[in-house]
């Protein structure tokens, strides 16, 4: 190894449910070069110091959304975050905030998954198109695609939930990613399920728990901009509210 090899003090939050009452910190000296990612630093720790260290990962290229974790208190994908950007500082790696910790850096994301399921994140065609033969296609113009495409980039990593103080304060809040996907399907011209999703958007735990802190958009590794989708969802919900006042549905 070269003499110029740099090292960084990396502190990892450890939690072993079978023996620990509370999480504790463990510090390692990790050598790094200009393209060492946080995920690779964790591999190094697991290979050289602490084989029992647990963390989730899969694709190593920011498409699977498995390796969301807090780096110096900010939600990041470990594979997309590099030690070179923390030069001269120490690094502290913790599991994703606002989720229960299962073991070391592994959190229980069930709540996120359940909330995404709740808003029916799939295209619900109208009655006319419901039984469309498989050899026929929906037509979509480039503009109709542009309307939702940005919000379809979500990889369900949970970084926005870790960034959201409203989710921290009230775990009933359906949260940024679910609301973003709700908006994404509502504005898709192939979809006719807006009415089925409306109760989740219009409720207190829906879009109305959001106070536009805007940190979800700041940390989103895929630049989905959830806070924008939520504000657009609020406009959708407010319009629905006014129409419902004029002409109640039931």
């Amino acid at each position: 190894m070269e003499a110029t090899q740099k090292t960084m003090k990396v502190t990892v939050l450890r939690y072993r449910p079978e023996q620990d009452k509370e999480p504790w910190e463990q510090t390692f000296d990790v050598p790094y070069h200009k393209d060492t990612s946080v995920l690779e630093a964790l591999f190094y720790i697991k290979d050289n110091f602490e084989p029992s260290l647990s963390f989730r990962w899969s694709c190593r290229m920011a498409v699977c959304g498995s390796c969301g974790m807090m780096v110096n208190g900010v939600p990041h994908l470990a594979c997309k975050t590099f030690l070179r950007d923390y030069e001269g500082k120490d690094m502290k790696i913790e599991p994703l905030a606002n989720f229960p910790i299962e073991r070391d850096l592994v959190v229980d994301l069930s709540d996120l998954i359940e909330k995404i399921e709740r808003i029916k994140p799939y295209i619900i065609p109208d009655a006319k198109n419901a039984n469309m033969p498989l050899n026929k296609n929906f037509k979509q113009t480039p503009m109709q695609m542009e309307a939702y495409l940005q919000f379809a980039q979500c990889i369900n990593c949970g970084c926005c939930y870790a960034a959201c103080p409203q989710y921290k304060l009230n775990p009933k809040f359906i949260g940024p990613a679910a609301l973003t996907l709700l908006y994404r399907y509502n504005v898709d011209n192939r979809d006719a399920g807006a009415k089925l999703r409306a109760p989740f958007l219009n409720s207190e735990e829906g879009a109305w728990s959001c106070t536009f802190v805007g940190y979800c958009s700041e940390v989103c590794p895929k630049h989905v901009d959830p806070s924008s989708a939520i504000q657009l969802g609020k406009k959708m919900s407010a319009t629905d509210y006014v129409f419902n006042m004029i002409k109640p549905e039931h």
Binding site: L169, S203, E204
Partner: protein
């Protein structure tokens, strides 16, 4: 499986007032503050200072200008108290009480202003 759907929130009503009030606070309030500061600095001159008697008579005897003042007070009070209601939640106070205090105060401020302005309008004629 029967699913229990969440109930519709009344928040849109307050949110729309908050949005309009936030616009007023960002576009109109700075100028109003400049006028209030100028009025304080020129208050020695009761004839020609800012917000002198003649000027405020002019504002409140004109139904349109008076209505504009009321609009500013109404929207700003709902805007400010809506934000403060949500801030109380950010400080960990989750209670229906802050809802009543916030929107009750905003309504009270608006009604008092409307009453006083109507009273003045009647007094002028």
């Amino acid at each position: 499986m029967r699913q229990f759907l969440p109930t519709r929130s009344d928040e849109p009503m307050y949110w729309l007032m908050f949005g309009a009030g936030g616009m007023v606070a960002s576009m109109v309030l700075p100028a109003i503050m400049v006028v209030l500061i100028a009025a304080g600095l020129t208050s020695g001159d009761l004839q020609n200072g800012f917000l002198n008697l003649g000027q405020v008579y002019g504002i409140f005897s004109n139904w349109f200008l008076s209505l504009c003042v009321f609009g500013v007070i109404f929207l700003l009070s709902f805007y400010a108290l809506h934000r403060m209601h949500h801030s109380s939640h950010d400080f960990g106070i989750h209670s229906k009480l802050t809802w009543y205090i916030a929107y009750g105060s905003a309504a009270a401020i608006s009604f008092i202003s409307l009453g006083l302005q109507l009273l003045m309008y009647v007094k002028f004629f």
